[in-house]
């Protein structure tokens, strides 16, 4: 499924969170959304997921507006940031919630999808554990498995690696790229620029509600954007033929006064 966001504006309390933003999401691509806090990344993801209606503009799914409901929910999975879990359900029951859009029509396929999702994020061994007994990283991987269990064509993940240790972060990024290679369109909001530049196929750099750069990761995270948008200087190099960006120090002489 292709998602085309056209002229998306979201206003809240008189201020624009997103202003006239265009973005396309394509199958088979790992797209990283990067930008400083308050750039509007999470809001954009919610608009793409059909959860938040834009003030102006439209989101087209394969060229058509969606009315929401289970038809869209089967094709599009959304993983919010923060990892809200309200009841102390087991890992397996939490992951199984990803099958709700499928309405239990094919229980064998549901079971297979749940098992595969738990295996992919390494939580199969935890399946009978209560979710409030897990570590932050285990919980994040459980919630990622929940999103994978939808078996959607598009996965929108808001900071999916925020709570993970380095090894799990690498596993998760490799998993997202594997999903993309298998045809899923993956959009991930990322704050870790070194992982974003290393693993994503394309980066979209956002600032104050607009897209300021878009394209190949190392081109988007050039010295100028890092200084002007993030207010940092970074070590930029290559290692094993892959681009490396390591935030190094706060940039001198930028218009930015700090992350607020």
């Amino acid at each position: 499924m292709n998602i085309e966001a056209r002229g998306i504006t979201v206003e809240k309390g008189g201020s624009a969170i997103l202003s006239g933003l265009d973005l396309s999401v394509r199958p088979g691509e790992l797209l990283g959304l990067v930008g400083p806090n308050g750039a509007g990344k999470s809001t954009l993801l919610r608009v793409l997921a059909g959860i938040e209606p834009p003030t102006a503009g439209a989101v087209l799914y394969d060229g058509a507006r969606s009315v929401g409901g289970p038809a869209l929910a089967r094709r599009l999975a959304y993983l919010p940031q923060g990892g809200e879990v309200n009841w102390s359900v087991t890992v397996e029951d939490a992951v199984a919630l990803g099958r709700l859009p499928h309405r239990g029509l094919d229980t064998a396929r549901d079971a297979a999808a749940i098992a595969a999702a738990m295996a992919a994020t390494g939580v199969a061994a935890l399946k009978d554990r209560r979710i409030d007994t897990l570590s932050g990283g285990e919980r994040m991987r459980t919630l990622l498995a929940r999103a994978l269990a939808v078996e959607a064509e598009i996965l929108l993940a808001d900071e999916p690696i925020a709570a993970l240790d380095p090894a799990s972060q690498l596993d998760a990024m490799a998993l997202l790229r594997r999903l993309a290679r298998a045809g899923t369109g993956v959009v991930a909001v990322l704050h870790d620029l070194s992982l974003a530049v290393r693993w994503c196929d394309r980066l979209v750099l956002m600032a104050t509600g607009s897209v300021v750069a878009e394209g190949a990761p190392s081109a988007v995270l050039d010295a100028r954007n890092l200084a002007e948008i993030f207010g940092i200087e970074a070590l930029r190099t290559e290692w094993e033929g892959q681009p490396v960006v390591v935030p190094w120090r706060r940039a001198e002489r930028t218009g930015r006064t700090g992350p607020g």
Binding site: A49, R74, E84, N86, W87, S88, V89, L97, L100, P101
Partner: protein, 333 residues
């Protein structure tokens, strides 16, 4: 799945227990009654005193215990699921306060004696008014928190107006009558009461049960539930309407029976793996059991006049809840 099988077993066991409690409830009363003989008379159409007591007193009381308890239990589970908060109770959307006010107004204007169903009809009118106001709010894009605040406001207003009615009540006797009614009781209800509430209650239960998958989805928050294809606005409206129908009817016939809707979902939650959807049915059945046990127990106590049901459910429920909280307090974070 084993979870589903266990849920079915639990629901069957609780259902059987509720029926057993209802049967036991018909055995207990102030007049000595050979229930088997009376039932025999009733079935063979003999108009004996025993048959009359069974049909007019014992059976309505047992049936109302089932219906009221089920309504409070299932609505408590639904509200806790919607708000994702174990402290929620069915009255939180304001319908029980409003239903009580409706009945109190019937008392106040001296219409309670006009015909036997005047009180419950007043209660239903009160609940309908409160539900209408909340549904109008829910139709706009009102968040869950705002809805609850609206429910709190309705409850406070209804409580204040109830106090006002007591304040202005024409005689201390009338005030006492209102206070006693507010404590909740199933005594001296008839089959007409059952007939009045059974349809709206059943409609309410269906609305609440239909929300089970959406309540499960809400385990992971409102955004995830929306992304799983559930329309939160429709969900809130359905749950408010369902609660208003079930609980408004319950309060209308029984007065305010506290604690059932709070404590029963809490007690049963661990037995359904904490899944809010599966909690609905078993909570209803558990509510029926608790209400019937309390209502049967208070008739066995040698205390006259008989204790009010709402008093007994709270006296039974609160220590039980405290015990549970102390026992399950988790030493690990």
């Amino acid at each position: 799945m084993s979870g589903r099988g266990r849920h079915g077993l639990l629901a069957t066991a609780l259902g059987a227990l509720a029926l057993l409690c209802a049967a036991a409830s018909t055995m207990v009363g102030y007049a000595p009654l050979d229930v088997a003989a009376a039932a025999g008379d009733l079935l063979s159409g003999r108009d004996t005193l025993g048959a009359l007591v069974l049909l007019e007193l014992r059976v309505p009381r047992a049936l109302l215990g089932l219906l009221v308890g089920f309504s409070l239990g299932i609505a408590g589970a639904a509200m806790q699921g919607l708000l994702r908060n174990p402290l929620a109770e069915p009255g939180i959307v304001g319908v029980s306060g409003a239903a009580a006010l409706g009945a109190v107004l019937v008392f106040y204007f001296g219409a309670a004696g006009a015909f036997s169903l005047a009180l419950p009809l007043g209660g239903i009118a009160g609940a309908a008014a409160a539900a209408g106001a909340l549904l109008a709010l829910a139709r706009g894009n009102t968040g869950t928190t705002a809805l609850i605040l609206a429910g709190v406001a309705v409850n406070s207003l209804a409580g204040a107006l109830t106090s006002l009615a007591l304040n202005l009540s024409p005689s201390p006797y009338a005030a006492l009558e209102i206070v006693f009614w507010l404590m909740g009781s199933l005594a001296d209800r008839s089959l007409a009461h059952v007939g009045l509430v059974i349809a709206p209650m059943a409609a309410g239960w269906l609305l609440l049960l239909r929300a089970a998958p959406a309540l499960d989805a809400l385990t992971l928050g409102e955004d995830v539930a929306a992304s799983l294809g559930f329309d939160l606005r429709r969900l809130r409206a359905g749950l408010i309407a369902g609660t208003a129908l079930a609980v408004g009817s319950a309060v209308s016939v029984s007065g305010a029976v506290g604690f059932v809707g709070l404590v029963v979902p809490h007690l049963l939650r661990p037995l359904v793996g904490q899944k809010p959807g599966q909690l609905l049915l078993v909570s209803g059945l558990g509510g029926a059991v608790l209400t019937l046990v309390a209502d049967t127990g208070l008739r066995l106590l040698p205390v006259r006049p008989e204790l009010k049901l709402g008093v007994v459910t709270a006296i039974l429920g609160a220590p039980f809840l405290l015990h549970l909280l102390l026992r399950t307090r988790n030493p690990n974070p």
